[in-house]
């Protein structure tokens, strides 16, 4: 069993004479070894990353094509209704939804939920006065009723 507590003789043994000829070679070989191994890992990781990036781009392109087809199909289904009529649904609701900053926030939130799957936000509609109700509910529930 090893001693966690060193004794003088052990310390003296530890302080033996250095193995001078091999010291520099250990340093050079060891450092180069670590650099090479991690450089190799970096190269492999880059290659894998490139594969995943390409794969994600392909998925995004496919999703875009699918979204376009879906839009065309819905336009055909609406008969003479033009694409310009579609946003009317949005206009019926909240004017705030046209705020670019708000759209960016909504897009980020959608991304957080959906993840890396390719997607496109095609419509933003207000869910009504629910936020005000939720705010009031939180305020009320934050007070302990006695």
């Amino acid at each position: 069993m090893y001693e966690l507590f060193p004794s003088p003789i052990h310390l003296a043994q530890a302080a033996a004479l250095p193995d001078a000829p091999s010291t520099v070679s250990v340093v050079v070989v060891g450092f180069l070894f670590v650099i090479l191994v991690l450089a190799l890992l970096a190269a492999v990781t880059s290659a894998i990353g490139a594969f995943f990036i390409k794969s994600a781009a392909r998925d995004a392109a496919k999703a875009a094509v699918a979204a376009e087809k879906a839009a065309e199909a819905s336009a055909r289904a609406a008969g003479h209704a033009t694409l310009a009529d579609a946003p009317a649904v949005s206009r019926q609701t909240d004017a705030d939804a046209e705020d670019p900053a708000l759209l960016a926030v909504i897009a980020a939130a959608v991304h957080m939920v959906i993840g890396d799957r390719a997607h496109r936000v095609i419509s933003v509609r207000s869910a009504g006065p629910g936020w005000a109700q939720e705010g009031r509910r939180q305020i009320f529930s934050s007070h302990r009723m006695r």
Partner: protein, 499 residues
Amino acid sequence: MTELLQQLYSNTGFGYIDWRMLVMWAVVVVLLYLAVYKKFEPLLLVPIAFGAILANLPTQGIVNKPASLVRSPDSGQIVSVIAEAGKSVYLPAVERVLPMTVGAIEPELLGTLLQGGAVPKYGEGSLLYVLRPIPADSSVPESITVNQQSFQSTDQLIWAEAEGRIVDSAVSVGQSVVKGQSIGELHSDHTGGLFYYIQMGILLEIFPPLIFLGVGALTDFGPLIANPRMLLLGAAAQFGVFGTFLGAQLLGFSSQASGAIGIIGGADGPTSIFLANALAPELLAPIAVAAYSYMALVPVIQPPIMRALTTKEERKIRMKSLRPVGRLEKLVFGVIVTVACILLVPPASPLIGMLMLGNFLRECKVTERLNKSAQNELINIITIFLGVSVGITMTGDRFLRGETLGILVLGVAAFALATASGILMAKLMNVFSKNKINPLIGSAGVSAVPMAARVSQVEGQKADPGNFLLMHAMGPNVAGVIGTALVAGFFLTMFGGVH
């Protein structure tokens, strides 16, 4: 009345206080101040400092070893037998470093011990045998006569490691023994102190891999996968380890000891303990204390070096946002690192294997309960045990020695060198790359996760309050963990940590 008071006093621990204890109490106060008021890694420093308090008090039932078989520390011939069946062994209340050879102890004290007498600092009946080891060379050692008995200065003293009653003394004068042979037995109903058993987690190399499991579960390799060239910064920082290895060799330490000391520069406590235990177990205590103390002092040691090696313009460099990395990519990375590192350096398997297992538990998203346990309960419990076990080794007579101070100095040099190497590598990469790296993140190549990355963030914000380097710095930071484990494996391969 007076006699009763004297008896009461003699049973207290005040008689054991010496100047080394007082110095260590001062060291403990400094460590606690840094941990509690300066908040320098309190999770590590508080257990270490509290362990150091216990180490420097006349404790009972804390580190006592259990009574068991007495084994020969070397091959040779028994030249004196003091142990007698039925005799009791008493050790001093404060554990001390014992002289291991006849030449290292005062002849008068040796005379008393050879007669089975009591010597306050060595106990009573604690010297069991004197062994003449097989000479390693042809040199003739000095002859010493004690109690009309002739010894050589290199004759080894075999001490009792625990209190108890001698129940068997199995050798006689002139008998040859081999290393590890059972030569006697002690028995006691008291079977060892709490921290004797907890320390086994260090000595049997159980705690470091378990800590790595928790570190893996806590680590997001995403920033590293998104920007793989950060691995080179983690690699460059390992120059601190090799530079310190060179320095330790020049100071006269053996290759094994130099490797164990150099790894302090990796800023990775578990790896330092793992390697020291395998290569230089006699230096484990000061190496562990240096590694953990300096990890806590990363926010003090690194910033001056970072500012000295970079210009204000360099510190203001804003790096490109990292791409998001998906689950599958992280899992593939984990498996590739595990396979590649273990194939290249098999001795690093316990560290790399557990690190990547912890990370796989985190990233696979189907083992949340295991992941949470590794991230919280497991790593917290092991941290308490590891910290106190390290601190409890900091007794005054063991810590206040030239060798320990040398290791502490080399440890600072290792940290400084590792920090500088990472920064310089980042600057070198900027020469060849269009996509500039803020050199401040190079210092995070030392694997003190996540303190080193936080230091990069803080220093970056001092130059440009709108610059957020934390996620970029996590890349080299986790690369440093892998790099340090690789270096540990390299040293184990080169210097053969024989267990």
